[in-house]
Symmetry: C2
Subunit: 107 residues, 2 copies
């Protein structure tokens, strides 16, 4: 991943509402959650939630699928993994101190 792309992804994560969305979708697991339920859970209006859900799924952190009247959003761990890899390998060249912080603890 190039730095410019990583910068955009970090920008998407630089918002507490959006981190709350990610957290909520991680907790609910693979079934995912509707836009409305997400909005209620993070305490945001429908349009505000939609704005942030759009940013997250455009960036590839979420997938969405229509289910009847609702949109069902699910977490996709891939982009987060790519970002962590960027930080560790590209940005910090595999620095040992950094590898220790996230390796196999409680595995």
């Amino acid at each position: 991943m190039i730095a410019e792309e990583a910068a955009v992804l970090f920008g998407v994560l630089s918002n507490a509402d959006r981190l709350s969305v990610i957290r909520a979708l991680v907790e609910v697991g693979p079934d995912g959650m509707s836009a409305g339920d997400i909005a209620r859970q993070i305490g945001a209006s429908p349009s505000r939630a939609s704005f942030h859900l759009n940013a997250l799924s455009e960036a590839g952190f979420l997938t969405k699928e229509r289910q009847s009247r609702s949109q069902n959003y699910r977490i996709d761990f891939n982009k987060i993994g790519q970002l962590i890899t960027f930080l560790m390998d590209d940005c910090c060249k595999g620095n040992a101190e950094l590898r220790n912080c996230c390796s196999m603890r409680a595995g």
Copy 2:
């Protein structure tokens, strides 16, 4: 780390100039680099570089120390480590797919 704090740190990383600074300081190693050399290396004016260096060191990604007429900046891996931990553990609850992406490869 709480989500609001992580959001601020992601905001600091959401800029290509600042990622270039981090990269340059990782490459130069523990000796660090002066503000002027950093500015030249990333292709930014002194005031622009100073603006970004300030954001990075305020956030804790860098340390600085005056050396004669120059300011010497060094990378501090700690905050990046905390951020990765936030992503892995707090945000994503230690998801296995995510742990694999950054554990012990090429260690």
